[in-house]
């Protein structure tokens, strides 16, 4: 089984994030890292390789030149090789454009199972996995909290608002995983050094046969027209519990109609 893991290089969550003048995320001026949510997918792929279920694990990213750092991190955790789709024309792509590039790259690389995080930690859209599945005509199982592969069947558990679902689909399939699947291992120094020797292939839109007009600004189906800081919530009434705290809390809740 060949696994391709979709990973994203995102701004460091603890850094001060900024928007570029074109209202895209300023990725050049801020420290980046492999999206924490994709690390869970990298870990799952590595475990499947260790158990013998997978014989090849490839990491795929779409992003600027710096995104190579994210691939190196993934390769330190596991995997055999990586593919980096980098093209200036991709800048400004919406989820539709990004999913098109990923789907074309996946067709080129070949796959049995596509793994990815449930969302990126920057855009947090959670729609790209389903879009990729739709474009590939592959089976889909998203938001997996548990994942197992048996022969050519992948089974997951996912929790929706109203039910806990167990879903089994046959390969080829696209599966997104949540942080419930288990923390990624911390790579040892030797693995970090070893990752530098693993091959990273670079591809352009032309290599994938994607028309630049379908992606980036020209292909965008939506555009951000305004960003503003969330108005700071100001502290309301804070009381010290001198024995009447509970009563005051109940009064507050009653005053708002909650009880």
């Amino acid at each position: 089984m060949k696994i391709v893991v979709l990973v994203k290089y995102v701004p460091e969550p603890t850094a001060t994030w900024k928007f570029a003048p074109d209202l895209t995320v300023d990725r050049a001026g801020v420290e980046g890292r492999l999206s924490e949510l994709d690390e869970y997918a990298v870990e799952q792929a590595t475990r499947l390789a260790e158990s013998g279920a997978a014989d090849e694990v490839v990491f795929l990213t779409v992003g600027p030149a710096k995104a190579t750092e994210g691939l190196r991190k993934a390769l330190a955790i596991g995997g055999t090789s990586a593919v980096h789709v980098v093209d200036d024309a991709i800048h400004g792509s919406c989820a539709l454009g990004t999913s098109l590039v990923l789907a074309k790259a996946l067709e080129k690389i070949g796959y049995d199972l596509v793994l990815t995080g449930m969302a990126s930690t920057d855009a947090e859209l959670s729609v790209v996995p389903s879009m990729v599945a739709d474009r590939l005509g592959a089976n889909q199982a998203t938001f997996a909290g548990e994942l197992s592969v048996d022969g050519s069947t992948v089974s997951i558990r996912r929790d929706t608002d109203v039910a806990s679902e167990r879903v089994s689909v046959s390969l080829p399939a696209v599966v997104s995983v949540t942080d419930q699947t288990g923390e990624a291992r911390y790579p040892a120094f030797k693995a970090i050094m070893g990752a530098k020797k693993k091959p990273i292939q670079t591809m352009s839109l032309a290599d994938l046969g994607v028309d630049a007009a379908q992606v980036g600004w020209s292909g965008a189906s939506s555009k951000v027209v305004d960003v503003s800081p969330t108005p700071a919530r100001t502290a309301g009434t804070i009381v010290n519990d001198d024995g009447t705290g509970a009563a005051q809390l109940a009064d507050f809740l009653a005053g708002r109609g909650f009880i």
Partner: protein, 330 residues
Amino acid sequence: MSEVPRSAETTAAGVRKPTLELLTAARALGEPAAVVFGDASDQVVAQLAEYGATKVYAVGSPDMQAFLSLPKAEAVVQIAQASNPVAILVTSGPEGKDVAARVAVRLNAGIIPDATKVSVDGGTVSAVQTVFAGRFQATSQVLRAPAVVTMRPNATSAEAAPASASASSRSMWPSATQPGCQGRLPRAQGLQRGPNSPMPRWSSPGAVASARKMASASSRKTADALGAAVGASRTVTDQHWAPHELQVGQTGKTVALVYLAAGISGAIQHRAGMQSSKTIVVVNKDAKAPLFQIADFGVVGDLHAVLPASSTRSPGAGADRPDALTPPEH
């Protein structure tokens, strides 16, 4: 006609609250139509009409509820192609995201996930999203119609339409599981659903979250008294003191009408999950806990003393206020 189909989630007991919120939001965009997967009973149609649906598309058999996203997406695409709506609204959630993503690909339409507000100006739909772990509000315009928007539950409140459209028409839409689409369905070989109980009903408008094992029991009692859902911080779920499904945070659950944080200091990821809640109440012994800075009401004190005492003040509260804090039907 600016028809706005949106997908309605129903249960045996009626229409779920997030669906009524969608209808409320849709009324600002145009004339709402509702898409019901499965059985659109008279009761369901009447309830959808009360919240403004002028048309109800009933799709497929009752089995529809048992399928994954694909047949639902296919049906919404067909309805959209036939009715040319200005927007398609879906509730955010695992299934809503899957359906919306596929619909957007098939219609090559702009998608805005996790919107908290949606509006239309001169035929162009805009929506507001909370981004960067809650730190920014981004307004996006959809450049290719129809706008596919997933709405966060509890971001808007459900309000019945001023003039109830009692004349809502119901039309059966051929099930997308009929021949013609067979080759691409149903994909899932096995789908078992079990109730989440005693897991939270996250469409319930309240949440009581706690950070420690001992606090969980007090929180559960308070939540019961409020008719709210129980949440937990990552510490609690990582230690298996509470199921992972209860985790509140960037990768967990989010907005509530009232959010009561018991003994939670407020890591950035936790704040990302809950800070859009309409009302925030904090109980913590540590007066320096960062969550106090965003609390509408805070009590500096021992949650084990404060919570039980406050919940005994309201035995069975909420029962007579269906719009306030009664958990919705499962």
